[in-house]
Protein backbone atom coordinates (compact mmCIF):
# COMPACT_ATOMS: atom_id res chain seq x y z
CA UNK A 1 0.00 0.00 0.00
CA UNK A 2 2.81 2.44 0.88
CA UNK A 3 4.57 1.57 -2.34
CA UNK A 4 1.35 2.18 -4.22
CA UNK A 5 0.92 5.60 -2.63
CA UNK A 6 4.54 6.54 -3.32
CA UNK A 7 4.16 5.51 -6.93
CA UNK A 8 1.00 7.56 -7.26
CA UNK A 9 2.74 10.58 -5.71
CA UNK A 10 5.54 10.26 -8.26
CA UNK A 11 2.92 10.04 -11.01
CA UNK A 12 1.23 13.12 -9.63
CA UNK A 13 4.46 15.11 -9.74
CA UNK A 14 5.10 13.97 -13.31
CA UNK A 15 1.62 15.05 -14.33
CA UNK A 16 2.07 18.47 -12.74
CA UNK A 17 5.42 18.89 -14.48
CA UNK A 18 3.83 18.02 -17.82
CA UNK A 19 1.00 20.46 -17.12
CA UNK A 20 3.42 23.27 -16.25
CA UNK A 21 5.54 22.73 -19.32
CA UNK A 22 2.62 22.29 -21.69
CA UNK A 23 0.87 25.40 -20.42
CA UNK A 24 4.02 27.46 -20.63
CA UNK A 25 4.64 26.29 -24.19
CA UNK A 26 1.04 26.91 -25.27
CA UNK A 27 0.74 30.43 -23.91
CA UNK A 28 4.10 31.47 -25.31
CA UNK A 29 3.64 29.81 -28.71
CA UNK A 30 0.44 31.65 -29.51
CA UNK A 31 0.76 34.86 -31.49
CA UNK A 32 -0.12 38.13 -29.83
CA UNK A 33 0.90 39.12 -26.36
CA UNK A 34 -0.24 40.31 -22.96
CA UNK A 35 -3.19 42.68 -23.06
CA UNK A 36 -1.37 45.09 -20.74
CA UNK A 37 0.92 45.89 -23.65
CA UNK A 38 -1.89 46.41 -26.14
CA UNK A 39 -2.36 50.11 -25.59
CA UNK A 40 -2.17 51.98 -28.87
CA UNK A 41 -0.92 55.01 -26.95
CA UNK A 42 2.22 53.37 -25.57
CA UNK A 43 5.44 54.65 -27.03
CA UNK A 44 8.11 52.15 -27.99
CA UNK A 45 10.20 53.26 -25.01
CA UNK A 46 7.32 52.68 -22.59
CA UNK A 47 6.62 49.29 -24.15
CA UNK A 48 10.22 48.30 -23.67
CA UNK A 49 10.14 49.46 -20.03
CA UNK A 50 7.03 47.40 -19.32
CA UNK A 51 8.46 44.34 -21.05
CA UNK A 52 11.60 44.67 -18.99
CA UNK A 53 9.67 45.04 -15.73
CA UNK A 54 7.56 41.98 -16.51
CA UNK A 55 10.57 39.97 -17.61
CA UNK A 56 9.25 39.58 -21.15
CA UNK A 57 12.45 40.88 -22.72
CA UNK A 58 14.35 37.72 -21.79
CA UNK A 59 14.64 34.67 -24.05
CA UNK A 60 11.74 32.24 -23.70
CA UNK A 61 14.03 29.52 -22.36
CA UNK A 62 15.21 31.84 -19.58
CA UNK A 63 11.62 32.75 -18.77
CA UNK A 64 10.78 29.06 -18.56
CA UNK A 65 13.70 28.33 -16.25
CA UNK A 66 12.76 31.28 -14.06
CA UNK A 67 9.13 30.15 -13.88
CA UNK A 68 9.96 26.53 -13.06
CA UNK A 69 12.50 27.66 -10.46
CA UNK A 70 9.87 29.80 -8.80
CA UNK A 71 7.28 27.03 -8.87
CA UNK A 72 9.69 24.70 -7.09
CA UNK A 73 10.14 27.33 -4.39
CA UNK A 74 6.37 27.70 -4.11
CA UNK A 75 6.32 31.15 -5.72
CA UNK A 76 3.53 31.47 -8.29
CA UNK A 77 4.66 34.83 -9.66
CA UNK A 78 2.76 38.05 -10.09
CA UNK A 79 -0.19 38.84 -12.33
CA UNK A 80 0.25 41.24 -15.25
CA UNK A 81 -3.35 42.37 -15.20
CA UNK A 82 -3.88 42.93 -11.51
CA UNK A 83 -0.37 43.69 -10.21
CA UNK A 84 -0.85 41.28 -7.30
CA UNK A 85 0.90 38.02 -6.41
CA UNK A 86 -0.92 35.17 -8.11
CA UNK A 87 -1.04 33.23 -4.88
CA UNK A 88 -3.14 36.05 -3.41
CA UNK A 89 -5.33 36.36 -6.51
CA UNK A 90 -6.10 32.63 -6.33
CA UNK A 91 -6.53 32.61 -2.56
CA UNK A 92 -9.09 35.39 -2.74
CA UNK A 93 -11.24 33.47 -5.20
CA UNK A 94 -10.82 29.99 -3.80
CA UNK A 95 -13.47 30.10 -1.05
CA UNK A 96 -16.10 31.25 -3.58
CA UNK A 97 -15.18 28.51 -6.01
CA UNK A 98 -15.20 25.89 -3.26
CA UNK A 99 -18.63 27.05 -2.12
CA UNK A 100 -20.17 27.07 -5.59
CA UNK A 101 -18.53 23.89 -6.90
CA UNK A 102 -19.11 22.06 -3.63
CA UNK A 103 -22.78 22.94 -3.54
CA UNK A 104 -23.27 22.02 -7.18
CA UNK A 105 -21.44 18.71 -6.78
CA UNK A 106 -23.37 17.83 -3.65
CA UNK A 107 -26.67 18.66 -5.35
CA UNK A 108 -25.81 16.54 -8.37
CA UNK A 109 -24.67 13.52 -6.38
CA UNK A 110 -27.71 13.71 -4.08
CA UNK A 111 -30.05 13.95 -7.05
CA UNK A 112 -28.22 12.22 -9.88
CA UNK A 113 -27.09 8.98 -8.26
CA UNK A 114 -30.34 7.88 -6.61
CA UNK A 115 -32.50 9.03 -9.51
CA UNK A 116 -30.22 7.27 -11.98
CA UNK A 117 -30.42 4.06 -10.02
CA UNK A 118 -34.16 4.37 -9.69
CA UNK A 119 -34.52 4.95 -13.42
CA UNK A 120 -32.44 1.87 -14.14
CA UNK A 121 -34.35 -0.39 -11.81
CA UNK A 122 -37.76 0.86 -12.79
CA UNK A 123 -36.84 1.32 -16.39
CA UNK A 124 -39.58 2.68 -18.64
CA UNK A 125 -41.64 3.73 -15.65
CA UNK A 126 -43.04 7.19 -15.06
CA UNK A 127 -40.07 8.37 -12.97
CA UNK A 128 -37.62 7.08 -15.57
CA UNK A 129 -39.44 8.86 -18.38
CA UNK A 130 -39.84 12.20 -16.63
CA UNK A 131 -36.37 12.24 -15.15
CA UNK A 132 -34.69 11.08 -18.36
CA UNK A 133 -36.56 13.68 -20.36
CA UNK A 134 -35.51 16.44 -18.00
CA UNK A 135 -31.94 15.19 -18.09
CA UNK A 136 -31.90 15.30 -21.90
CA UNK A 137 -33.14 18.87 -21.89
CA UNK A 138 -30.72 19.96 -19.14
CA UNK A 139 -27.81 18.57 -21.12
CA UNK A 140 -28.92 20.30 -24.32
CA UNK A 141 -29.36 23.86 -23.10
CA UNK A 142 -26.37 26.18 -23.49
CA UNK A 143 -25.27 27.12 -19.98
CA UNK A 144 -25.21 30.84 -20.56
CA UNK A 145 -28.70 30.66 -21.93
CA UNK A 146 -29.98 28.78 -18.90
CA UNK A 147 -28.27 31.33 -16.66
CA UNK A 148 -29.67 34.37 -18.48
CA UNK A 149 -33.09 32.73 -18.54
CA UNK A 150 -32.90 32.10 -14.81
CA UNK A 151 -31.94 35.73 -14.17
CA UNK A 152 -34.74 37.11 -16.31
CA UNK A 153 -37.25 34.80 -14.67
CA UNK A 154 -36.23 34.82 -11.01
CA UNK A 155 -34.49 38.18 -10.67
CA UNK A 156 -36.39 40.49 -13.00
CA UNK A 157 -39.84 39.10 -13.85
CA UNK A 158 -40.46 37.54 -10.43
CA UNK A 159 -37.71 39.07 -8.30
CA UNK A 160 -37.09 36.46 -5.62
CA UNK A 161 -33.34 35.98 -6.09
CA UNK A 162 -30.56 38.52 -6.71
CA UNK A 163 -29.34 38.78 -10.32
CA UNK A 164 -25.70 38.38 -9.49
CA UNK A 165 -22.78 38.58 -7.10
CA UNK A 166 -21.83 36.38 -4.17
CA UNK A 167 -23.35 38.66 -1.54
CA UNK A 168 -24.96 42.07 -1.24
CA UNK A 169 -22.09 44.52 -1.35
CA UNK A 170 -21.98 47.21 1.30
CA UNK A 171 -24.15 45.37 3.78
CA UNK A 172 -23.39 43.04 6.63
CA UNK A 173 -24.80 40.29 4.41
CA UNK A 174 -24.93 37.25 6.62
CA UNK A 175 -25.69 33.62 5.98
CA UNK A 176 -29.13 34.00 4.39
CA UNK A 177 -27.85 36.71 2.07
CA UNK A 178 -25.02 34.49 0.83
CA UNK A 179 -27.41 31.57 0.47
CA UNK A 180 -29.81 33.62 -1.67
CA UNK A 181 -26.96 34.59 -3.96
CA UNK A 182 -25.81 30.97 -4.17
CA UNK A 183 -29.13 29.41 -5.21
CA UNK A 184 -29.27 30.33 -8.91
CA UNK A 185 -25.63 29.82 -9.92
CA UNK A 186 -25.45 26.53 -7.99
CA UNK A 187 -28.68 25.30 -9.56
CA UNK A 188 -27.54 26.24 -13.08
CA UNK A 189 -24.15 24.66 -12.55
CA UNK A 190 -25.70 21.54 -11.02
CA UNK A 191 -28.24 21.10 -13.83
CA UNK A 192 -25.78 19.68 -16.33
CA UNK A 193 -23.71 17.78 -13.77
CA UNK A 194 -26.80 16.16 -12.30
CA UNK A 195 -28.09 15.16 -15.71
CA UNK A 196 -24.76 13.64 -16.70
CA UNK A 197 -24.32 11.74 -13.45
CA UNK A 198 -27.86 10.50 -13.75
CA UNK A 199 -27.28 9.20 -17.26
CA UNK A 200 -24.02 7.53 -16.27
CA UNK A 201 -25.63 5.97 -13.24
CA UNK A 202 -28.65 4.75 -15.16
CA UNK A 203 -26.49 3.36 -17.94
CA UNK A 204 -24.00 1.55 -15.75
CA UNK A 205 -26.65 0.31 -13.34
CA UNK A 206 -28.44 -1.28 -16.29
CA UNK A 207 -25.25 -2.99 -17.31
CA UNK A 208 -24.71 -4.13 -13.76
CA UNK A 209 -28.22 -5.53 -13.61
CA UNK A 210 -27.25 -7.85 -16.47
CA UNK A 211 -24.25 -9.24 -14.58
CA UNK A 212 -24.46 -12.97 -13.79
CA UNK A 213 -24.11 -12.44 -10.06
CA UNK A 214 -27.05 -10.07 -10.02
CA UNK A 215 -29.13 -12.59 -11.89
CA UNK A 216 -28.10 -15.17 -9.35
CA UNK A 217 -29.05 -12.88 -6.54
CA UNK A 218 -32.40 -12.24 -8.15
CA UNK A 219 -32.88 -15.93 -8.69
CA UNK A 220 -32.30 -16.43 -4.98
CA UNK A 221 -35.41 -14.36 -4.51
CA UNK A 222 -34.02 -11.12 -3.16
CA UNK A 223 -36.32 -8.21 -3.41
CA UNK A 224 -35.67 -5.67 -6.15
CA UNK A 225 -34.51 -2.89 -3.86
CA UNK A 226 -32.08 -5.06 -1.92
CA UNK A 227 -30.55 -6.20 -5.21
CA UNK A 228 -30.24 -2.64 -6.37
CA UNK A 229 -28.53 -1.42 -3.26
CA UNK A 230 -26.26 -4.24 -2.36
CA UNK A 231 -25.00 -5.51 -5.67
CA UNK A 232 -25.81 -3.18 -8.46
CA UNK A 233 -24.89 0.00 -6.66
CA UNK A 234 -21.27 -0.91 -6.11
CA UNK A 235 -20.67 -2.30 -9.57
CA UNK A 236 -22.43 0.57 -11.24
CA UNK A 237 -20.46 3.13 -9.32
CA UNK A 238 -17.18 2.61 -11.24
CA UNK A 239 -18.13 4.63 -14.32
CA UNK A 240 -19.89 7.12 -12.06
CA UNK A 241 -16.74 7.67 -10.05
CA UNK A 242 -14.87 8.16 -13.33
CA UNK A 243 -17.48 10.68 -14.36
CA UNK A 244 -17.06 12.48 -11.05
CA UNK A 245 -13.33 12.67 -11.64
CA UNK A 246 -14.10 14.34 -14.96
CA UNK A 247 -16.62 16.71 -13.41
CA UNK A 248 -14.24 17.98 -10.76
CA UNK A 249 -11.91 20.08 -12.96
CA UNK A 250 -14.96 21.24 -14.88
CA UNK A 251 -16.58 22.51 -11.73
CA UNK A 252 -13.44 24.14 -10.37
CA UNK A 253 -12.03 25.69 -13.50
CA UNK A 254 -14.81 25.33 -15.99
CA UNK A 255 -17.63 27.09 -14.22
CA UNK A 256 -16.40 30.25 -15.92
CA UNK A 257 -19.55 30.79 -17.99
CA UNK A 258 -21.89 30.46 -15.02
CA UNK A 259 -19.55 32.61 -12.94
CA UNK A 260 -19.48 35.27 -15.64
CA UNK A 261 -23.23 35.56 -16.08
CA UNK A 262 -23.90 35.57 -12.34
CA UNK A 263 -20.88 37.80 -11.61
CA UNK A 264 -19.69 35.12 -9.20
CA UNK A 265 -16.10 35.83 -8.11
CA UNK A 266 -14.67 32.39 -8.79
CA UNK A 267 -11.47 30.87 -10.10
CA UNK A 268 -12.90 29.83 -13.46
CA UNK A 269 -13.78 33.37 -14.43
CA UNK A 270 -10.40 34.59 -13.19
CA UNK A 271 -8.70 31.97 -15.34
CA UNK A 272 -10.69 32.72 -18.46
CA UNK A 273 -10.08 36.44 -18.11
CA UNK A 274 -6.39 35.74 -17.57
CA UNK A 275 -6.32 33.53 -20.68
CA UNK A 276 -8.15 36.15 -22.76
CA UNK A 277 -5.89 38.94 -21.47
CA UNK A 278 -2.75 36.82 -21.95
CA UNK A 279 -1.78 37.25 -18.35
CA UNK A 280 0.92 34.55 -18.69
CA UNK A 281 1.85 34.21 -15.00
CA UNK A 282 -1.76 34.10 -13.84
CA UNK A 283 -2.83 31.56 -16.48
CA UNK A 284 0.08 29.34 -15.53
CA UNK A 285 -0.52 29.76 -11.81
CA UNK A 286 -4.22 28.89 -12.03
CA UNK A 287 -3.59 25.97 -14.34
CA UNK A 288 -0.93 24.68 -11.98
CA UNK A 289 -3.16 25.12 -8.97
CA UNK A 290 -6.25 23.52 -10.49
CA UNK A 291 -4.31 20.66 -12.01
CA UNK A 292 -2.61 19.92 -8.70
CA UNK A 293 -6.03 19.77 -7.06
CA UNK A 294 -7.32 17.51 -9.82
CA UNK A 295 -4.36 15.20 -9.55
CA UNK A 296 -4.91 14.81 -5.84
CA UNK A 297 -8.60 14.11 -6.38
CA UNK A 298 -7.71 11.54 -9.02
CA UNK A 299 -5.45 9.76 -6.56
CA UNK A 300 -8.38 9.57 -4.19
CA UNK A 301 -10.51 8.28 -7.07
CA UNK A 302 -8.07 5.45 -7.67
CA UNK A 303 -8.32 4.47 -4.03
CA UNK A 304 -12.07 4.62 -4.38
CA UNK A 305 -11.98 2.23 -7.34
CA UNK A 306 -10.15 -0.25 -5.13
CA UNK A 307 -12.79 0.02 -2.48
CA UNK A 308 -15.66 -0.27 -4.94
CA UNK A 309 -14.38 -3.07 -7.10
CA UNK A 310 -12.03 -5.47 -5.36
CA UNK A 311 -11.39 -7.17 -8.70
CA UNK A 312 -9.07 -4.29 -9.62
CA UNK A 313 -5.70 -5.09 -8.11
CA UNK A 314 -2.98 -2.66 -7.14
CA UNK A 315 -0.40 -4.38 -9.27
CA UNK A 316 -2.64 -5.09 -12.21
CA UNK A 317 -0.37 -5.65 -15.16
Amino acid sequence: MTAFLLRRAAHALTVIFVVCTATFALVHLAPGGPAVLADPKLSLEEQAAIEQRLGLDRPVAAQYALWMGRVVRGDLGKSFLYEVPNRRAIGERLPNTALLAGTALLLSVLLGVPLGLWSAVRRGGLVDRVVSGLAFVAMAVPTFWLAIGAIFTFAIAVPIFPAGGASSAGEAGGFMDRLRHLVMPAAVLAAVTTAELLRYMRSSAQTALQQPFVRVARAKGLRNRAVAWRHVFRTALIPVVTALGIQFPRLVGGAAITETVFAWPGLGRLGVQAALGRDYPLVMAITLFVSAAVVIVNMLMDLLYLWIDPRIRLDAS
Partner: protein
Protein backbone atom coordinates in the same frame (compact mmCIF):
# COMPACT_ATOMS: atom_id res chain seq x y z
CA UNK B 1 -40.72 -10.64 -16.75
CA UNK B 2 -38.52 -8.15 -14.98
CA UNK B 3 -38.58 -4.51 -15.99
CA UNK B 4 -34.81 -4.26 -15.77
CA UNK B 5 -34.19 -6.94 -18.37
CA UNK B 6 -33.81 -5.92 -21.96
CA UNK B 7 -36.79 -7.59 -23.43
CA UNK B 8 -37.38 -8.05 -27.14
CA UNK B 9 -40.11 -5.52 -26.60
CA UNK B 10 -37.70 -3.06 -24.91
CA UNK B 11 -35.29 -3.43 -27.78
CA UNK B 12 -38.04 -2.71 -30.26
CA UNK B 13 -38.90 0.60 -28.53
CA UNK B 14 -35.19 1.37 -28.39
CA UNK B 15 -35.04 0.83 -32.15
CA UNK B 16 -38.05 3.07 -32.62
CA UNK B 17 -36.43 5.77 -30.52
CA UNK B 18 -33.17 5.35 -32.41
CA UNK B 19 -35.00 5.64 -35.71
CA UNK B 20 -36.88 8.73 -34.61
CA UNK B 21 -33.86 10.51 -33.14
CA UNK B 22 -31.68 9.39 -36.02
CA UNK B 23 -34.25 10.68 -38.46
CA UNK B 24 -34.22 13.98 -36.67
CA UNK B 25 -30.44 14.24 -36.87
CA UNK B 26 -30.47 13.27 -40.55
CA UNK B 27 -33.20 15.83 -41.22
CA UNK B 28 -31.24 18.61 -39.51
CA UNK B 29 -28.06 17.64 -41.34
CA UNK B 30 -29.90 17.54 -44.69
CA UNK B 31 -31.48 20.91 -43.98
CA UNK B 32 -28.08 22.35 -43.26
CA UNK B 33 -26.53 20.81 -46.38
CA UNK B 34 -29.35 21.37 -48.87
CA UNK B 35 -31.07 24.32 -47.25
CA UNK B 36 -28.67 27.03 -48.40
CA UNK B 37 -28.96 25.66 -51.96
CA UNK B 38 -32.77 25.57 -52.01
CA UNK B 39 -33.25 28.79 -50.07
CA UNK B 40 -30.94 31.02 -52.04
CA UNK B 41 -30.12 34.14 -50.07
CA UNK B 42 -26.92 35.79 -48.87
CA UNK B 43 -26.87 35.11 -45.11
CA UNK B 44 -24.29 37.84 -44.56
CA UNK B 45 -25.94 40.65 -46.54
CA UNK B 46 -26.65 43.63 -44.33
CA UNK B 47 -29.70 45.78 -44.71
CA UNK B 48 -29.65 48.29 -41.90
CA UNK B 49 -33.03 49.69 -42.93
CA UNK B 50 -34.57 46.27 -42.30
CA UNK B 51 -32.95 45.63 -38.91
CA UNK B 52 -34.76 43.31 -36.51
CA UNK B 53 -37.84 43.00 -38.68
CA UNK B 54 -40.36 40.44 -37.44
CA UNK B 55 -41.16 37.38 -39.56
CA UNK B 56 -42.97 38.39 -42.74
CA UNK B 57 -42.79 38.66 -46.49
CA UNK B 58 -39.31 38.43 -47.94
CA UNK B 59 -37.91 37.20 -44.65
CA UNK B 60 -39.93 34.13 -43.55
CA UNK B 61 -38.28 34.15 -40.11
CA UNK B 62 -37.57 37.87 -39.88
CA UNK B 63 -34.23 39.64 -39.84
CA UNK B 64 -31.57 40.08 -37.19
CA UNK B 65 -30.13 43.21 -35.63
CA UNK B 66 -28.26 44.07 -38.84
CA UNK B 67 -31.13 43.26 -41.17
CA UNK B 68 -29.71 39.91 -42.23
CA UNK B 69 -32.15 37.14 -43.15
CA UNK B 70 -32.63 34.88 -40.13
CA UNK B 71 -33.66 31.76 -42.04
CA UNK B 72 -30.63 32.03 -44.30
CA UNK B 73 -28.38 32.47 -41.28
CA UNK B 74 -29.95 29.56 -39.42
CA UNK B 75 -29.30 27.27 -42.40
CA UNK B 76 -25.76 28.54 -42.90
CA UNK B 77 -25.16 28.49 -39.15
CA UNK B 78 -26.46 24.93 -38.97
CA UNK B 79 -23.80 23.81 -41.41
CA UNK B 80 -21.13 25.34 -39.25
CA UNK B 81 -22.48 24.15 -35.90
CA UNK B 82 -23.13 20.59 -37.07
CA UNK B 83 -19.78 20.41 -38.83
CA UNK B 84 -18.03 21.55 -35.67
CA UNK B 85 -20.04 19.09 -33.58
CA UNK B 86 -19.46 16.00 -35.69
CA UNK B 87 -15.89 16.72 -36.71
CA UNK B 88 -14.85 17.51 -33.15
CA UNK B 89 -16.41 14.32 -31.86
CA UNK B 90 -14.83 12.24 -34.60
CA UNK B 91 -11.52 13.75 -33.57
CA UNK B 92 -12.02 13.16 -29.86
CA UNK B 93 -13.63 9.72 -30.30
CA UNK B 94 -10.71 8.47 -32.33
CA UNK B 95 -8.19 9.86 -29.89
CA UNK B 96 -10.05 8.61 -26.84
CA UNK B 97 -10.70 5.11 -28.12
CA UNK B 98 -7.22 4.50 -29.42
CA UNK B 99 -5.39 6.00 -26.48
CA UNK B 100 -7.70 4.27 -24.01
CA UNK B 101 -7.20 0.91 -25.74
CA UNK B 102 -3.48 1.50 -25.91
CA UNK B 103 -3.34 2.15 -22.18
CA UNK B 104 -5.63 -0.71 -21.28
CA UNK B 105 -3.97 -3.35 -23.43
CA UNK B 106 -0.48 -2.10 -24.14
CA UNK B 107 1.22 -3.18 -20.95
CA UNK B 108 2.37 -1.27 -17.95
CA UNK B 109 4.94 1.05 -19.52
CA UNK B 110 2.68 2.22 -22.34
CA UNK B 111 -0.15 2.53 -19.87
CA UNK B 112 1.98 4.76 -17.65
CA UNK B 113 3.03 7.09 -20.45
CA UNK B 114 -0.44 7.38 -21.97
CA UNK B 115 -2.14 7.84 -18.66
CA UNK B 116 0.29 10.51 -17.44
CA UNK B 117 -0.44 12.44 -20.61
CA UNK B 118 -4.16 11.85 -20.23
CA UNK B 119 -4.06 12.90 -16.60
CA UNK B 120 -2.20 16.09 -17.47
CA UNK B 121 -4.66 16.96 -20.23
CA UNK B 122 -7.56 16.22 -17.96
CA UNK B 123 -6.15 18.21 -15.09
CA UNK B 124 -6.09 21.45 -17.05
CA UNK B 125 -9.54 23.03 -17.12
CA UNK B 126 -10.85 22.44 -20.64
CA UNK B 127 -11.93 26.02 -21.21
CA UNK B 128 -8.42 27.41 -20.50
CA UNK B 129 -6.92 24.80 -22.76
CA UNK B 130 -9.40 25.59 -25.55
CA UNK B 131 -8.89 29.35 -25.27
CA UNK B 132 -5.13 28.94 -25.47
CA UNK B 133 -5.36 26.43 -28.33
CA UNK B 134 -7.67 28.78 -30.22
CA UNK B 135 -5.14 31.58 -29.80
CA UNK B 136 -2.73 29.25 -31.57
CA UNK B 137 -4.96 27.94 -34.38
CA UNK B 138 -7.42 30.78 -34.81
CA UNK B 139 -11.18 30.82 -34.39
CA UNK B 140 -12.00 29.11 -37.69
CA UNK B 141 -13.97 25.87 -38.10
CA UNK B 142 -10.78 23.74 -38.22
CA UNK B 143 -9.37 25.67 -35.27
CA UNK B 144 -12.51 24.99 -33.24
CA UNK B 145 -12.52 21.31 -34.23
CA UNK B 146 -8.90 20.89 -33.16
CA UNK B 147 -9.43 22.83 -29.95
CA UNK B 148 -12.66 21.09 -28.94
CA UNK B 149 -11.78 17.61 -30.21
CA UNK B 150 -8.24 17.74 -28.94
CA UNK B 151 -9.35 18.63 -25.43
CA UNK B 152 -12.32 16.33 -24.92
CA UNK B 153 -11.02 12.79 -25.50
CA UNK B 154 -9.64 12.18 -22.02
CA UNK B 155 -12.86 11.09 -20.35
CA UNK B 156 -13.44 8.49 -23.02
CA UNK B 157 -9.86 7.26 -22.83
CA UNK B 158 -10.08 6.82 -19.08
CA UNK B 159 -13.43 5.11 -19.37
CA UNK B 160 -12.17 2.71 -22.00
CA UNK B 161 -9.08 1.93 -19.99
CA UNK B 162 -10.99 1.46 -16.74
CA UNK B 163 -13.45 -0.91 -18.39
CA UNK B 164 -10.64 -2.80 -20.08
CA UNK B 165 -8.78 -3.22 -16.79
CA UNK B 166 -11.94 -4.41 -15.13
CA UNK B 167 -12.88 -6.76 -17.97
CA UNK B 168 -9.37 -8.13 -18.29
CA UNK B 169 -9.55 -9.67 -14.88
CA UNK B 170 -12.88 -11.30 -15.50
CA UNK B 171 -13.14 -15.01 -15.75
CA UNK B 172 -14.06 -15.47 -19.39
CA UNK B 173 -11.26 -13.25 -20.56
CA UNK B 174 -8.81 -15.20 -18.45
CA UNK B 175 -10.18 -18.27 -20.13
CA UNK B 176 -9.83 -16.80 -23.58
CA UNK B 177 -6.27 -15.80 -22.81
CA UNK B 178 -5.53 -19.23 -21.48
CA UNK B 179 -6.77 -20.58 -24.79
CA UNK B 180 -4.19 -18.41 -26.52
CA UNK B 181 -6.24 -15.52 -27.82
CA UNK B 182 -4.12 -12.59 -29.06
CA UNK B 183 -4.61 -9.11 -27.53
CA UNK B 184 -6.20 -7.80 -30.72
CA UNK B 185 -8.74 -10.61 -30.64
CA UNK B 186 -9.36 -9.92 -26.99
CA UNK B 187 -10.14 -6.35 -27.89
CA UNK B 188 -12.45 -7.00 -30.81
CA UNK B 189 -14.25 -10.09 -29.56
CA UNK B 190 -14.44 -9.64 -25.83
CA UNK B 191 -13.70 -6.08 -24.83
CA UNK B 192 -15.41 -4.11 -27.58
CA UNK B 193 -18.89 -5.55 -27.10
CA UNK B 194 -18.57 -4.65 -23.45
CA UNK B 195 -17.17 -1.23 -24.18
CA UNK B 196 -19.59 -0.32 -26.90
CA UNK B 197 -22.45 0.92 -24.74
CA UNK B 198 -20.32 3.32 -22.77
CA UNK B 199 -18.34 4.42 -25.82
CA UNK B 200 -21.55 5.09 -27.71
CA UNK B 201 -23.05 7.03 -24.85
CA UNK B 202 -19.87 9.00 -24.48
CA UNK B 203 -19.35 9.72 -28.17
CA UNK B 204 -22.90 10.73 -28.98
CA UNK B 205 -23.06 12.94 -25.95
CA UNK B 206 -19.81 14.36 -27.27
CA UNK B 207 -21.55 15.72 -30.39
CA UNK B 208 -23.93 17.65 -28.20
CA UNK B 209 -21.14 18.79 -25.90
CA UNK B 210 -19.15 20.08 -28.87
CA UNK B 211 -22.12 22.04 -30.23
CA UNK B 212 -22.73 23.47 -26.78
CA UNK B 213 -19.04 24.28 -26.42
CA UNK B 214 -19.14 26.26 -29.64
CA UNK B 215 -22.00 28.31 -28.23
CA UNK B 216 -20.16 28.80 -24.93
CA UNK B 217 -17.09 29.96 -26.85
CA UNK B 218 -19.29 32.35 -28.83
CA UNK B 219 -20.48 33.72 -25.51
CA UNK B 220 -16.94 34.65 -24.52
CA UNK B 221 -16.25 35.92 -28.04
CA UNK B 222 -14.16 33.00 -29.30
CA UNK B 223 -16.68 31.04 -31.36
CA UNK B 224 -17.23 31.28 -35.10
CA UNK B 225 -16.51 34.88 -35.97
CA UNK B 226 -19.00 37.23 -37.62
CA UNK B 227 -20.09 37.82 -40.28
CA UNK B 228 -20.25 34.00 -40.58
CA UNK B 229 -23.19 32.57 -38.73
CA UNK B 230 -23.25 29.74 -36.23
CA UNK B 231 -26.11 28.83 -33.94
CA UNK B 232 -23.84 29.72 -31.04
CA UNK B 233 -23.01 33.23 -32.17
CA UNK B 234 -26.61 33.87 -33.23
CA UNK B 235 -27.77 32.89 -29.77
CA UNK B 236 -25.09 35.05 -28.16
CA UNK B 237 -26.04 38.09 -30.21
CA UNK B 238 -29.70 37.54 -29.45
CA UNK B 239 -29.16 38.10 -25.72
CA UNK B 240 -29.35 41.85 -26.16
CA UNK B 241 -32.69 41.66 -27.97
CA UNK B 242 -34.59 39.44 -25.54
CA UNK B 243 -37.32 42.03 -25.01
CA UNK B 244 -37.62 43.57 -28.44
CA UNK B 245 -37.02 40.66 -30.83
CA UNK B 246 -37.34 37.42 -28.88
CA UNK B 247 -37.52 35.31 -32.06
CA UNK B 248 -33.81 35.99 -32.59
CA UNK B 249 -33.12 33.94 -29.48
CA UNK B 250 -35.87 31.36 -29.92
CA UNK B 251 -34.76 29.92 -33.28
CA UNK B 252 -31.08 29.18 -32.64
CA UNK B 253 -31.88 28.18 -29.05
CA UNK B 254 -34.50 25.67 -30.17
CA UNK B 255 -32.25 24.32 -32.89
CA UNK B 256 -29.37 23.77 -30.49
CA UNK B 257 -31.74 22.15 -28.00
CA UNK B 258 -33.37 19.92 -30.61
CA UNK B 259 -30.09 18.84 -32.14
CA UNK B 260 -28.42 18.05 -28.86
CA UNK B 261 -31.46 16.20 -27.51
CA UNK B 262 -31.72 14.27 -30.78
CA UNK B 263 -28.09 13.11 -30.80
CA UNK B 264 -28.25 12.24 -27.11
CA UNK B 265 -31.47 10.24 -27.51
CA UNK B 266 -29.93 8.54 -30.52
CA UNK B 267 -26.86 7.52 -28.54
CA UNK B 268 -28.97 6.35 -25.68
CA UNK B 269 -31.24 4.29 -27.90
CA UNK B 270 -28.28 2.82 -29.76
CA UNK B 271 -26.83 1.78 -26.45
CA UNK B 272 -30.04 0.04 -25.48
CA UNK B 273 -30.32 -1.65 -28.86
CA UNK B 274 -26.73 -2.87 -28.68
CA UNK B 275 -26.87 -4.41 -25.20
CA UNK B 276 -24.10 -6.99 -25.30
CA UNK B 277 -25.87 -9.38 -22.95
CA UNK B 278 -28.95 -9.41 -25.06
CA UNK B 279 -26.93 -10.09 -28.16
CA UNK B 280 -24.79 -12.82 -26.67
Amino acid sequence: MNAAMVTPDGRRTARRRAAFAGGMVVFLALAAIAGPILYDTDPNALDLTQAAAPPGAGHPLGTDESGRDVLGRLLAGGRVSLAVGFAAVACSGLLGLSLGALAGLGGRRVDTIVMRFTDAMMAIPALFLIITTLALFGTSVPGLVIAIGGTSWMGLARLVRAELLSIREQAYVEAARALGARPARLLTHHALPHLLPNVLVNVTFGVGTAILMESALSFIGLGIQPPSASWGNMLTNAQSYLYSSPWLAVYPGLLILTTVVAVNVLGDALRDAAEPEARA
